[in-house]
Every structure is written in C-alpha cells, then in structure tokens.
C-alpha cells in the first residue's frame, strides 16, 4: 500500500492544481456588462476597447501566454530598465549570495564562541534580542544614508537579516552537544581545536544547517522587497516595473518565479542538511 503513496500524492497534487485552475478560469470569465456603449467609437478606442485590452483579473490562459512569452526568451536585454527574467533573477541571486556569504563568515564563528561560553551567551544576549526582531527593510534608509550605494545597501540588508537565525542556531547547536561526547574528548585529552572541529562541529552541523536554511529563506523574501523599494535590477524591480504598468499577468508570472527559485534554494539546503545528519 505504502509504495504507491508517492504516486497517489502526485495524482492528488495534479487534481488539486486542475481544480485551482478551473475555479480561476470560471471566476474570471468575461462578463457582458463591461461593454461601453459603442455610440462614440472614438471614446471607446481611447478607452482601449477592441485593442486586446484585458479587463479585470487576468484569466489563466492570459497568464499562461505571459509565461510562454517571458520564458521563451529569458535572457533578452533591451537596455538598463528592460531585461529578461533570467538576468533579473541572476542579479537577485548574486545579491543574496553576497549578503548570505558575509553573514556566514560572521555568524558561524560568533555562534561557536557564544555556544561554547555561557558568559558570552549572557553578555551578548541583550543585543541579539534587540537586533533580531528588527525588520530587515527598516535598515534600508539607514544603509542608504551611510553606505551611499543602493547595491551595497541591498547586500547589507541581506547580511543583517541572514545573521540571526544562523547565529542563534549555531550557538544552540554548539551548546547542546551531548555531554558524554565532550567528556569522552576530555578523557582522551583532545586539544581544543581538534575538539571543536572533530567533536563539536559534526555534532552541531545539522542544527547549524537548519539555521542557514532558515536564513536563506528569509534572505530570498527580503531581497524582493528591497529591490522593489530601490529599483534598478533584480526580480523585485521586475515586479515593481510591471506593477507600474498595472500588468497583473506579468506580476503573477514574477511571483511564481520567485516561489520556484525560493523552493529550489530550500531544496538545496535540505540536501546539504541530509548529508550531515546521521542517526545514532
């Protein structure tokens, strides 16, 4: 029975998706009352009638056409304000990558120190508690003023929001390594560096990776909002540019792309996490 579970789940997913599209289709069927009296043909033309203007919420087929349109040429470049979705996502990923990498460099060693020393835990805790709940975008005006560069500010915002989950999870993971293993290490008179890298790090790795996975999720959420605010390049800017055009099919397309990329990032960290987890 159980070996059919994945197939049945996939089938159910498909059915749910079909239902969703069906309901969407019926909800957006064109109604008849949108036709303006054709008495004044010029007025109707100026209002976009007969020019293929979409009324109301876009239909699934309109959104489908948008998908085909954008995905058939994801890397076009029509100047600084009109680039393909592939290029935009690459810009966003680059910013997220840079900010996340910097955060890793700071959060992992710091988390290690905090986790190993109860004194540091208590001393730094008030700061972490105050800084942690600040919305990353609240840093944006300050970052723009101090750093004087919107790209660097974007990376800084990713940095600051990726920090806390990594830091706290690392500290927690390090602090809760099983006493037996530490005691064994002490009995065998293992040096401090070796203890850190061969006993504590492997034991804490799953927790650390959980922190990194959470951080990456947050970073991907934040970059879209930051790019909408600052503009220029990136998938967030793409959404803003299409919003400026009030083009909902394009916005829906971009939202879907953001979701898919986020899923892939999460999946990649899931795989990493599995690699370092072992059962005892």
């Amino acid at each position: 029975m159980n070996k059919h579970l994945p197939i049945r789940a996939a089938l159910l997913s498909l059915v749910l998706f079909a239902c969703f599209i069906g309901i969407w289709h019926y909800a957006t069927l064109p109604s008849d009352n949108v036709v303006v009296s054709a008495a004044d043909a010029e007025y109707a033309a100026l209002m976009g009638q007969g020019a293929g203007k979409a009324e109301g919420f876009p239909t699934p087929s309109a959104v489908g056409r948008t998908f085909v349109h954008f995905l058939s040429d994801p890397f076009y470049d029509n100047g600084p304000n009109d680039k393909g979705i592939g290029i935009q996502i690459a810009y966003s990923l680059m910013r997220v990558g840079a900010g996340f990498f910097l955060a890793t460099l700071v959060a992992l060693p710091l988390g290690f120190i905090i986790g190993m020393s109860p004194l540091m835990t208590r001393a730094l805790n008030p700061f972490i508690q105050v800084l942690k709940p600040i919305s990353p975008l609240a840093w944006m005006p300050l970052a723009l003023y101090v750093l004087k560069d919107s790209d660097v500010s974007g990376i800084f915002v990713i940095f600051i929001c990726s920090m806390w989950p990594m830091l706290l999870n690392t500290a927690f993971g390090v602090a809760s390594v099983r006493r037996d293993w530490i005691n064994v290490a002490r009995t065998l008179e293992v040096g401090p560096m070796r203890k850190a890298f061969q006993v504590i790090l492997p034991a804490a790795a799953p927790t650390i990776l959980t922190g990194m996975r959470i951080s990456m999720g947050i970073a991907w959420i934040v970059i879209v909002a930051a790019e909408m605010l600052v503009g220029g390049t990136g998938v967030g800017y793409f959404v803003w540019n299409e919003w400026n055009n009030l083009a909902l099919p394009n916005v829906i397309f971009a939202i879907t792309m953001i979701g898919l990329v986020g899923m892939l990032l999460d999946f990649a960290f899931g795989v990493l996490q599995k690699m370092v987890t072992y059962r005892d």
Binding site: G79, N81, Y145, K148, L229, G232, N241, N244, N245
Partner: protein
C-alpha cells in the same frame, strides 16, 4: 639680518617649526608646495578662467584691498567664502565663462528618471540619442520613487536626475533631507498633471463638499502637493485638517482608488489617464486650469557635480534642451509617444501615453476632449516660479523663519546658464527671469512674496 632669513623667524604671519596647515615640515615647504599647486592650476585654461572670475568678483565686492584683508582676518577665509558664495552665484558665473570647446570631464553618466510623461525630454534624449551627439554615454536609470531619487543624487549614484521642480530648492535648503546645494539648469515640462477623482464622485465636483476625503500626492516637495493644497484652500478647506493627504507611488494610487481606498489623487501623467483607462476614475480638472503653464518636473544635479564637470554638464544640458524643443512640437508628439511607451521607459499602453502627449483624450465621463496644451515642454527655469514654490513651502510649514526668496531661487535655478545653452541651440530665451503669474485667478507678483502670502491667509 632677519629679512633674509629663509624661515623668517621674526615675521608675524608665518608659523615656525611645522607649517600653518600642519602637513609640511616647515612654512618654507608649505609655501613652495602651494606655489607649485598654483602654477599647475594656472596651466589649465578652465581653472584659470574660473579663478579669475572669482578673484574679480571678490575685488568688486571690496574695492579697497585693505578692507578685504581686514574682513578676511576678522571672519576667516572659510566663513568669508561661504558668505560671498551665498550672495553671489559664483559657480554660475564661472560656468558661464567656460567655453563649449573644453573637453568633457566625464563621458559615462547615470541619469535617474521616474516613468512619467514629465520625463519625456530626458527619456527621448536617450531614445533618440541626443546625448550621443554631444559625446556622452548616458545610462537612464528608472527609479521607484522621489525619495529614492533624492537619496541616489545625494549618494552620487546619479550624476544628474529628473526631479520635481521644488526638490532642488528643498534639498538646497535642507528641507526633508540633509542640505546639499543643488542646481537646476532646465525645467522639463509645464502643465501635464491632473486631479483625478473616483468614479463614485461623478456628481461631487464642488471642492467645498470634499471635507473628509482622502487624496494621494506623489511627494511632499512637489508641485502636485502645492497645487492641490492651494486649490483646496481657495475653496475654504484646510488641507492639513479637512482632508487626508497621503504620499504614494503613482501605480499605488490607481490601485488604491480601485479598491475604494482613495477618493482622488493629483499626479503626473500617464497615471490620471491610466485611471480613466482602467475605468476607476475620471479627470476632474487638468492642473493647467489651476495655473496655466505651471512648472512641474525638472532636471537637476548637485553643485559639486557641476563644479567638477562643467563641460560635461553643459553638454548634458544642451542635449536635454535640444530634446525638449523637439518633443514640444505638436507634430512630433505621436512619434514621441510611440518611442517612450515601451517597457524600457514608461512601460505603459501606447494609447494612454499618446492621449497625454497629443492632448485628445477620454475624460472618464464619456467625453472626448481636446487640449493641445495638456502638457508642454519649456526648459526655461523662471526664477519667479521658484519664488512661488518657496512661498508655498513657507505657507505650509515646510520651511521656517525668514526666507530670502529671490536669492535662493536665483542660486538654484540657473536661468543664465539656460539662456546660454538655448542660445547655442538657436532657441529664443526670455530676456527677464521674473514675471507675474496668474494662479487661480489671483496675480502672483514675485517681487512681493510676503504680501502674496499675507493675501492668501487673509481671505483665500
């Protein structure tokens, strides 16, 4: 003996030991270094001419050299420089003396813009490569809002930018930002805005009945804010108490109006026309009905940029004035609309942009109206327009205390510069930089700003 001494130990005006600036081992080294810098500076034609202008000006202010020296000793060189610069448009005069022949200091430039029809000359100059003809390589960077434009200009990410015409005044005064001297060589457009109301207000056209309504404006330091406030106040409403004014990005305005969250907005095109096109609003009035030929958007840069790149700046201004003259011609408007509508620029349906630029449009109430002067492009930065904006900033509490209206307007709005560039392109510029304006049927005399303000508060 004491006079021959190289280090002049008995002279009162030299520091012994380390030099007066502290960066050289002795006063002797300091003097030699300064002389070297001066002779190097003398070899460059531009600095020679700007230095000459500055010296001539200072000489004109202090005909007696003894007075000049006493004044400098009393207040210090830096304070004196700032005081004189605040009285005299030195950089403006210096820029005027520089000839077109000079080499471009910087060729790769980033210019910011907001996707609205006010930016038409800036955008069109890029689309039709007016910049390239001046030897410039300009990247036009679309920007998400006016606050971001302000920040990116101050952070030097933008070399120059599309701005709302009150912004360079406000930034120079430090209103709503850190103070940074800005210059505005050209106005972009005149008219080109509207007050749009939600379709449910079709029968509510009298502003006297608008108490409690919610309106959106694009920025505090905008003609939109000042014109709407002026219009409401003229109809007996207090814009700070009787209605709600919210700062919002233009697409948000249309969406908020659709959801019934806004009763009206005043904003640049094409968003008024877009609201009509989306069947959520109708055009209550064009802002030209409040003040015909009122200024709107501008092209501006920091004074720093202009001082460092005078030739580049002159070339940039020439490109834009040239584009302005082209897009202002009625017969070119349709083609311009087609050129600036795509995603790289305005990202709007072409018919919407065209209705704005050509001036034959649907009003949202079932009529087709013709208003060829719906938007026009006139680069001349009238000082009197700047003075009006300053009176409104004072009126609504954005700036406090004594305001030296003419002085500020003349420092920021480079009318002499614009005249020169217009002449280079064979365009006729007005002889005066001040004129009287008719605003809502009331005359504004730029020579009497305080009297105008008193008249408004007394019985507008």
């Amino acid at each position: 003996m004491k006079d021959e001494n190289l280090y002049r130990p008995y002279a009162a005006d030299v520091a012994l030991g380390r030099c007066s600036c502290g960066q050289h081992g002795s006063q002797h080294e300091h003097d030699a270094e300064a002389a070297r810098a001066r002779s190097l500076r003398g070899e460059k034609a531009e600095s020679l001419s700007t230095d000459f202008v500055e010296a001539a000006l200072v000489r004109a202010i202090f005909p007696q050299d003894a007075t000049r020296r006493r004044f400098l000793k009393a207040v210090g060189a830096n304070a004196a420089m700032a005081a004189i610069a605040s009285m005299m448009p030195i950089s403006d005069l210096q820029a005027m003396t520089l000839e077109k022949a000079g080499p471009l200091e910087k060729k790769d430039l980033t210019v910011g813009f907001l996707p609205i029809t006010c930016a038409t000359p800036i955008i069109f100059a890029g689309a039709a490569d007016f910049y390239g003809r001046e030897g410039l390589n300009v990247t036009l960077q679309k920007t998400a809002g006016w606050a971001i434009v302000r920040d990116k200009v101050l952070a030097k990410e933008f070399d120059a930018s599309h701005m709302l015409s009150p912004m360079p005044l406000a930034i120079s005064l430090g209103a709503g930002s850190t103070a940074a001297p800005m210059v505005m060589p050209v106005m972009e457009n005149i008219n080109g805005n509207a007050i749009t109301l939600h379709v449910k207000h079709k029968n509510n056209r009298d502003p006297r009945n608008w108490k409690g309504m919610k309106f959106a404006i694009p920025f505090d330091y905008s003609m939109h804010n000042f014109l709407l406030r002026h219009y409401l106040a003229a109809h007996g409403l207090d814009p700070d108490k009787d209605v709600q004014l919210r700062v919002m990005a233009p697409p948000d305005m249309v969406a908020n109006m659709r959801s019934g969250n806004l009763d009206g907005f005043i904003v640049a095109e094409p968003f008024n026309q877009r609201a009509v096109y989306e069947k959520v609003g109708f055009i209550h009035l064009l802002t030209s009905q409040i003040w015909d030929n009122h200024p709107c958007c501008a092209f501006a840069a920091t004074e720093d940029f202009v001082n460092q790149n005078p030739n580049t700046f002159a070339a940039l201004v020439r490109s834009i004035i040239g584009a302005t003259a082209y897009v202002n011609k009625a017969e070119n408007r349709k083609g311009v609309a087609e050129m600036i509508a795509p995603a790289n620029y305005l990202n709007q349906p072409q018919t919407v942009v065209e209705q704005v630029l050509v001036g034959r449009y649907a009003d949202g109430l079932g009529h087709v109206l013709s208003e060829p002067n719906r938007i026009a492009f006139d680069p001349f930065p009238w000082h009197s327009m700047g003075v009006w904006m300053l009176t409104q900033m004072k009126r609504w509490g954005y700036i406090k205390g004594e305001v030296n209206y003419q002085d500020i307007a003349e420092r920021v709005y480079l009318a002499t510069d614009a005249k020169k560039r217009m002449a280079e392109l064979g365009l006729e510029a007005p002889a005066q930089t001040y004129k009287k304006h008719m605003i809502l049927g009331k005359e504004f005399d730029p020579a009497q700003p305080e009297a105008y303000l008193k008249g408004l508060s007394a019985g507008a």
